[in-house]
């Protein structure tokens, strides 16, 4: 119980289940009331009375998504008013609400609530689905019950009700994906590797065989013969869903530094077993020792290139594939790539110097100009107006 309390506090940013779905309507005599609720009695009368202003609000707030979080209950609703001569006050007010725990995020339910309300509006307009049985709402009760259980279990539901089919799906709200640039390298997360190729969309099907943690976007586009903007859009979409992770391009001239998470490698048994397995050069030989792997990571610091470390530690003798080692490190944030930013400090930049603003790193400049890193390097070395910053 105490564990639960620690986990679920307000603002913990977790998602929770839908606890209850209820329909509230404005009764011409009795005023605002809950006319149907699944499960019965989840929202008590006290709570409803305190918040009914926000459930059946003023006309100006009709068709707005309203979320009210008071008294340890979070209610997401979408108040609707239907004008028609049929009704006692020439209008029918209702609001279909989802109730969640007060600590849970509820953004992902907003479109669902809105869509369901719109289905119900349509059904009400066509058949009087909501208003027909004053006291007996068994049909609605079963409908809401099914939506509740389906959405909580499968996050998706399809229900045929009379002549309408209701399609609902909860789409998780994730932070925006990063912008995908030419020089970035996508890496497919291991849990998605087993998915058969046919089940991906068409663009992904073309691209996926070239995603190996080594190829960069521009190269994938060239090899898969897919337009580069399409590749970027596709990868960005995959990155949004966490299918791929974007890493900096691997070069032996790269410089890396270890992060605070490196110590996890010695503490997290799963992580280090996974690491030793992943970085093995030859899977038939015994996997490299933790000490060797750790030593490799620990040697990474400013000013020491991957090439130097390889020369010093000869990882291949210890059955370590240094490329996989770097990929694993980047993937689990054990290490961070330190990029090189040329900065032009003269007065009038011309030609390529305009790119040396300090906002583009070496890889980006290489991709933009189509020149090799060595070429750029030479260019910068000979130019006294350019300094280089590593960060």
């Amino acid at each position: 119980m105490t564990n639960n309390q620690q986990q679920f506090y307000e603002g913990c940013g977790r998602e929770g289940l839908i606890r209850c779905i209820f329909l509230s309507e404005f009764h011409p005599v009795a005023g605002s009331k809950i006319s149907c609720q699944v499960p019965e009695g989840y929202v008590t009368k006290d709570v409803f009375d305190a918040v009914n202003v926000y459930i059946i609000p003023k006309p100006q707030l009709q068709r707005c998504i309203l979320t009210v979080n008071v008294m340890k209950t979070k209610i997401v609703g979408y108040p609707v008013k239907i004008d028609s001569q049929r009704y006692a006050r020439n209008a029918f007010y209702f609001n279909l609400c989802f109730v969640c725990d007060f600590w849970a995020r509820s953004v992902q339910y907003e479109p669902v609530v809105k869509k369901l309300s719109e289905y119900l509006t349509m059904m009400e307009e066509e058949t009087g689905f909501l208003s027909k049985d004053e006291d007996d709402k068994i049909q609605l009760q079963t409908l809401l019950g099914r939506i509740l259980s389906d959405l909580n279990e499968h996050k998706v539901t399809t229900i045929v009700e009379g002549e309408n089919t209701i399609y609902l799906k909860i789409v998780t709200h994730l932070p925006d994906p990063p912008t995908v640039l030419d020089h970035m390298v996508p890496l497919l997360m291991s849990e998605y590797k087993s998915i058969p190729l046919e089940s991906w969309d068409l663009t992904s099907q073309q691209i996926l065989p070239y995603i190996n943690g080594i190829n960069h976007i521009a190269r994938i586009a060239a090899e898969a013969d897919v337009e580069v903007t399409l590749v970027k859009a596709c990868i960005q979409n995959l990155a949004y869903y966490g299918v791929v992770k974007l890493l900096p391009i691997l070069k032996y001239s790269n410089v890396y530094m270890c992060t605070r998470s490196l110590q996890n490698l010695t503490k997290d048994n799963m992580l280090y077993t996974a690491c030793r397995k992943y970085v093995s050069l030859n899977p038939d030989r015994p996997s490299p020792s933790l000490a060797k792997v750790f030593q490799f990571y620990a040697s990474m610091t400013h000013g020491i290139t991957l090439r130097t470390i390889c020369q010093r530690l000869s990882p291949q003798n210890h059955n370590i594939d240094e490329r996989k080692l770097v990929i694993f490190g980047l993937q689990h944030d054990l290490i961070r790539c330190i990029s090189k930013y040329p900065v032009f400090i003269g007065s009038m930049p011309n030609g390529r110097q305009r790119l040396y603003t300090g906002t583009y790193n070496f890889d980006e400049i290489c991709c933009k100009t189509g020149l090799s890193a060595a070429n750029i390097e030479r260019d910068i070395d000979s130019d006294t107006n350019v300094t280089v910053i590593w960060k």
Partner: protein, 612 residues
């Protein structure tokens, strides 16, 4: 952007009903963007008006040009004049993309005639719905504080009743005027309210302060002082576009140690407005002894304050974005460019730097820190001391602007794992596991290496790794020379072991050193080594320095204290174990076969940097 409030609203509810008293900003730019309404992707696209599902016209956004829009005053007042069940607790309501947060405060009106009348006052902040939970909480706290301040002033002099009556009267006056001639608009009522009411002026200044600095220091009714800081905003002043969460600051402050130092980010004059007058004295005491070269502990003892108070003061200053945590500046500190340093041409920092340090270019100075560099490295004793002073000033400036990050050295104890493909160590690995006789042989072999490598270590700081057999034999030669001249502590002890076990392998050189002390040493070493697990013990024993009880004792002590788990940097070990840097470095070097050292940032300090 999403940190700023959209609007601040004050609503009252009493026996005379609910009313929106004031909101700020109230001048909404009403110019309709015609272009946005009929925005087409291209000139040929058709505007589809009749969508089947979205037949009714609906509002999906209530934000217009960074201001609240689309809510008439009456709607707001009914929304915020909450039922009594919802009073004195957090009130949160989200409408489309606007989140309203407030603390409805119920209080008794101070009236001489009737004692039972209650006033509900709700000061609500309208925020961007995307604003993080911590931002919402901060605004909630502010609303609560304002509520308490108003309760206090109401109880004292009936301030709120007075202000309320004044505002209501003004609204009624204007309404009456509008009734008479239809030329005037409602907007001017707020103008007049703002002119007359001190509470409205106060809310206005709160809104402006929140939008500009995120720091508040206001006095309500010239009596109650209210200090408030919105850290997510305040820290942007020093680092644009980066939101520092209060949680991060808390984490930083929790890991604060006495050896940390403080670096002020603002002038002395700007410091005092963040503390209530009662705390100012203590702050002054601390500031008098402030020096970025001093640790917190030194400052505490200089200022004659308990260290806990210093922590609290520093914590407060950090929260208010007036100071940051550093490791006290010294020659040995290693700095690199921070990963998120905003360094680019046309950066305002470039100009700021050259006005601060005339004739210097930020890029030239900072490019020295592309590689991990210390102030000691950048200066030579031959240079005049003034140059070093300027350099220190520049480093401080760059630290203040979060351009530099300090690297610390961490130590991880890691003997070679048992039974792994390590060609060199396999022979040694066998040593402790095979029968007694064999182990003595290998131990004896070790003895010679021990003696020699200890010597070589004392003479040259970085000898080649002593791993192959070829180097063993070389070392044996040198050992032969040295045993005569140098009567080192380690040698007798280790060689004694061979004597003790009564085998022929006892070397001649050790005969003369056999003494009671060495027996003790031997036992001590054994005892010390016992703390390690089997396979680790073997690895440690193989290290030459392990036969020196002093070195081993220190090593074991630090290991047992948990310093070799990569969680404590050298400076921390030095501080808590009262060691000198050279002592510690020597020890690490002697035991480098089982210790892996690496450089990274101090998590306490780095948490204030964004990890990109």
């Amino acid at each position: 952007m999403e940190v700023n409030p959209l609007s601040i609203i004050i609503v009252k509810s009493d026996s005379k009903g609910d009313r929106l008293l004031f909101r700020y900003p109230y001048k909404v730019e009403t110019q309709n963007d015609i272009s946005s309404e009929s925005k087409r992707r291209n000139p040929y696209s058709i505007l589809i008006n009749d969508d089947v599902l979205q037949n009714a016209q609906q509002q999906t956004s209530n934000i217009h040009n960074g201001q609240l829009s689309g809510f008439p005053d009456e709607v707001l007042s009914t929304l915020f004049a909450v039922k009594s069940e919802l009073c004195n607790r957090k009130f949160e309501l989200k409408v489309n993309d606007v989140r309203f947060v407030g603390h409805p405060t119920l209080m008794q009106a101070k009236e001489s005639k009737e004692d039972t009348s209650f006033i509900l006052i709700n000061i609500v902040f309208a925020l961007y719905a995307q604003a993080s939970y911590s931002i919402v909480t901060c605004y909630y706290e502010l609303s609560k504080k304002l509520g308490y301040a108003l309760v206090h002033e109401e109880n004292r002099v009936g301030y709120l009743s007075e202000e309320m009556n004044l505002m209501v009267k003004t609204h009624d006056e204007i309404a009456a005027v509008i009734e008479q001639d239809r030329g005037k608009s409602e907007l001017e009522a707020f103008d007049l309210v703002l002119e007359r009411s001190t509470l409205a002026q106060c809310l206005k200044s709160i809104y402006h302060d929140l939008c500009t600095t995120g720091l508040l220091n206001i006095t309500i009714n010239q009596f109650v002082t209210l200090c408030f800081c919105l850290p997510q905003k305040a820290h942007q002043f020093h680092k644009k576009g980066v939101i520092v969460e209060p949680e991060t600051i808390d984490r930083c402050l929790h890991s604060l140690k006495p050896y940390h130092g403080m670096l002020l980010l603002v002038n002395f004059a700007e410091l005092l407005d963040c503390v209530p007058p009662s705390g100012a004295l203590m702050l002054l005491k601390l500031i008098e002894v402030y020096n970025p070269l001093k640790s917190l502990q030194n400052m505490a003892s200089d200022a004659d304050l308990p260290i806990d108070h210093v922590y609290e003061l520093v914590g407060h200053l950090v929260y208010w974005a007036k100071a940051t945590i550093i490791y006290p500046l010294c020659e040995t500190n290693v700095y690199v460019i921070a990963p998120d340093a905003p360094l680019y041409t046309n950066s305002p920092l470039v100009e700021k730097f050259s006005t601060e340090f005339p004739g210097m270019s930020l890029f030239e100075v900072i490019s020295d820190f592309s590689l991990p560099t210390s102030i000691g490295h950048l200066t030579t004793p031959l240079q005049q001391p003034a140059r070093q002073g300027i350099l220190a000033q520049m480093v401080l400036w760059m630290l203040q602007h979060h351009l530099l990050m300090q690297l610390h050295t961490y130590v991880q104890f890691m003997p070679n794992d048992h039974g792994e493909c390590d060609e060199i160590s396999t022979e040694y690995e066998l040593g402790p596991t095979v029968d007694e006789n064999h182990s003595e042989m290998s131990l004896d072999n070790d003895d010679d290496i021990n003696a020699s490598s200890l010597l070589s270590m004392s003479s040259q700081p970085l000898p080649v790794p002593n791993t192959s057999h070829r180097s063993n034999t070389e070392d044996q030669f040198s050992a032969a020379d040295s045993t005569v001249s140098d009567n080192i502590v380690a040698q007798p002890s280790s060689s004694h072991k061979s004597n003790f076990s009564m085998t022929q392998s006892a070397s001649l050189s050790s005969d003369n050193c056999d003494s009671l002390a060495s027996v003790e040493d031997e036992d001590k070493i054994k005892e010390l080594l016992n703390v390690f697990q089997e396979q680790d013990r073997a690895a440690v024993r193989r290290i030459p320095a392990a036969s020196n009880p002093e070195d081993l004792a220190l090593m074991v002590k630090l290991w047992q204290a948990g310093y070799f788990k990569g969680e404590h940097h050298l400076e921390e070990i030095m501080y808590f174990e009262n060691l000198r840097r050279s002592q510690l470095l020597q020890l690490l070097d002697k035991f480098r076969d089982v210790l892996i050292i690496y450089e990274t940032e101090d998590p306490a300090i780095a948490s204030l940097y964004s990890q990109s």
